[in-house]
Amino acid sequence: DSPSDLTQDSPANGLLKYNFLSHMALDSFLLPFYDSQKGSSLFFIQDSIAVYGYETNTGLKIVVGTSTRDSVGEALRPVFQQIHKVYIRLMCNPFQSITDEQTLSDNKRMQSSIMGIVDTWNNAQ
C-alpha cells in the first residue's frame, strides 16, 4: 500500500504534493462510498487536481490525477485499463518480483509506457 509514484515534475515541491495526494487517495479506497464494481471513481478535488481511483480484485490500486476542468471519469476508464495492461506486462516477467516495490517504479520500460499513455491523453484533450 505504499504508492509507487511516476510523476513528470521533478522539483521537490511537486513531488511532495503528489506524495500527499496519493496518500489521500489511498485512504479514499477504504471509504464506504467507493464501489470497485463501477470502474474508476472520482475521489476528491484538491488544488485544482481531480483525483480518480481504480482498484482490481487483486488489490492493485491505480490513482490518476488530472487538472482538466470537466468531469472526465468515464473518459479515463481506457487510461486505467492501459495502465493496468502495462502493469500486467511487467508482472509477466518471470524475473520481476511482485513484492519488491522499488523495482516496480525503477523499471524504465514501465515508466516510459506510462509516460506514453499520459502524453497521449494530454494530447487528446
Binding site: C92, P94, F95, N107
Partner: protein, 190 residues
C-alpha cells in the same frame, strides 16, 4: 518446393495442432527458468546446462510427434534439414518461422534467426550484469534441436550466439553438423 513446404506447414498448424493459450505457455516456461535460477543461486552456466538437458529430453520425444504429424521422409541434405526445421518444425510447434541464414562454405553450418520468440514475451533479464552476459534464456530450444536431430541420426552442435534479451540486435541460434550417425544394419539382414 518451398511453396509446398509452407503450405504443408500452414495446413498442419491450422488443422492438426491443438492450441493452448500462449500466455500460459510463456508464464510456465518463465517460471521454470526463474526457479532454475533460484535453485542454482544464479549460476547461469548451470542454468543453461539444465535448460539444454530438459530440451534434449523434449527433443528426443518431440521428433516422433513431428514425424507422425508430418509424414515426412528422410531429408536428402543438411540444407533440406534446415528448411524443414525452420519452416515446418518451428511453425507447427511455436508458430514462428525463423530465417535460415549464414551458411558456411561447406554447407555444414547455418544460423536460425528468430524475429519473434514466444518463450520470451514480456521477459526482461535481471538487471545485474551477470545474467545478460551468461544466461541464454531460451536455451531449452538448443536441447530440443540437438535431441530431435540426434534421433534422425544427425549429430549437430547447437548453441545460441545472440539474444535480444541480452541487448543484441537479433536472436540467433547456430547449428553445426558434426557427423551423420550411420544406421546400423540389423544382424541377419544382409
Amino acid at each position: 518446393m518451398s511453396k509446398t513446404i509452407k503450405a504443408t506447414a500452414d495446413d498442419i498448424w491450422k488443422n492438426k495442432v491443438e492450441k493452448i493459450n500462449s500466455e500460459l505457455f510463456t508464464l510456465t516456461y518463465g517460471s521454470v527458468v526463474a526457479q532454475l535460477c533460484r535453485d542454482f543461486h544464479n549460476d547461469y552456466v548451470q542454468v543453461n546446462a539444465q535448460l539444454e538437458r530438459m530440451g534434449f529430453n523434449i527433443g528426443i520425444r518431440l521428433i516422433e510427434d513431428f514425424l507422425a504429424r508430418t509424414g515426412l521422409g528422410r531429408c536428402q541434405s543438411f540444407k533440406e534439414t534446415a528448411e524443414v526445421v525452420s519452416k515446418i518444425g518451428f511453425k507447427i510447434f511455436l508458430n514462428v518461422v525463423p530465417l535460415v541464414t549464414n551458411w558456411s562454405g561447406d554447407g555444414k553450418q547455418f544460423s536460425l534467426v528468430l524475429e519473434e520468440n514466444p518463450l520470451a514475451e514480456f521477459v526482461e533479464l535481471p538487471q545485474d550484469d551477470k545474467a545478460s552476459r551468461a544466461l541464454w534464456y531460451s536455451n531449452v530450444l538448443v536441447g530440443v534441436l540437438k535431441g530431435a536431430l540426434q534421433m534422425v541420426q544427425l549429430e549437430v552442435d547447437v548453441a545460441f550466439v545472440k539474444d535480444v534479451l541480452r541487448g543484441d540486435d537479433a536472436t540467433e541460434i547456430r547449428l553445426k553438423l558434426i557427423k551423420v550417425l550411420r544406421d546400423e544394419v540389423p544382424a541377419g539382414e544382409d
